[in-house]
């Protein structure tokens, strides 16, 4: 099979670009640990409270060390449960200072949901029987909408929350 000289150069250039991309994301993934969310732990979707993180009293945000937070969430159609505030009202807003490291842990009691803190890299699928977990440094100040970005039924667009990153 005959390849024109220019086509050879083009294909070498194209493949080299692809290899370069793969080296960059591969280095970031395997050496820096920035894989996409791929948590392997399973859970009984009909009994998520059996897991410590998803007991009603443990839901919502908790500071575990200086500048380090854990947010536990239970998703169900069509709501994110971030726990209750001191007056017993459902929490809808997570507040963290800029630069803090936040570990989001989430599971679902029913169907597949999404969990995205829009405008950040926190973006994961939430599937029954699995725990999704992603740690992110909240670099930028602002109000970020949490959206369910995976279809979960007729109320899908009513599933949301807010992350507020303050100075």
């Amino acid at each position: 099979m005959h390849l024109h000289k220019y086509e050879k150069i083009w294909l070498v250039f194209g493949m080299a670009s692809l290899v370069l991309f793969l080296l960059i994301i591969g280095f970031a993934a395997f050496w820096k640990g920035t894989h996409p969310q791929s948590h392997m732990e399973t859970i009984d979707p009909q009994n998520v409270e059996a897991h410590d993180a998803f007991k009603p009293e443990n839901l919502g945000i908790r500071e575990v060390a200086d500048g380090k937070y854990i947010v536990n969430i239970v998703a169900s159609a069509f709501n994110y449960d971030f726990g209750k505030d001191t007056e017993g009202n459902a929490n809808k807003t997570i507040r963290v200072p800029k630069g803090s490291t936040v570990l989001y842990q989430i599971t679902t009691k029913d169907v597949v949901h999404g969990f995205q803190v829009a405008g950040t890299n926190v973006n994961m699928m939430v599937e029954p029987g699995h725990i999704s977990r992603y740690e992110a440094v909240m670099k930028n100040v602002g109000e970020f909408t949490i959206v369910c970005n995976e279809y979960c039924g007729i109320g899908h667009h009513q599933m949301y929350g807010t992350v507020e990153v303050y100075e």
Binding site: H4, Y6, E7, I9, W10, F13, G14, S17, F21, I24, G119, T120, N121, K139, N140
Partner: protein, 48 residues
């Protein structure tokens, strides 16, 4: 459209089929576009 005719033109046609300078520039521009856009989005990803 006879065979003889096409043979007569062969050197000429060979030359023209092998001049692919425009093609080369076009695909390289395409390649540069892919590179630039990929790095742009990667930078956006890192900034978030």
């Amino acid at each position: 459209m006879g065979k003889g005719n096409s043979k007569q033109h062969q050197p000429n046609s060979n030359e023209s089929t092998h001049n692919l300078k425009g093609t080369f520039i076009a695909v390289m521009l395409l390649g540069v576009f892919i590179l630039v856009s990929w790095f742009g989005f990667y930078a956006l990803f890192l900034s978030r």
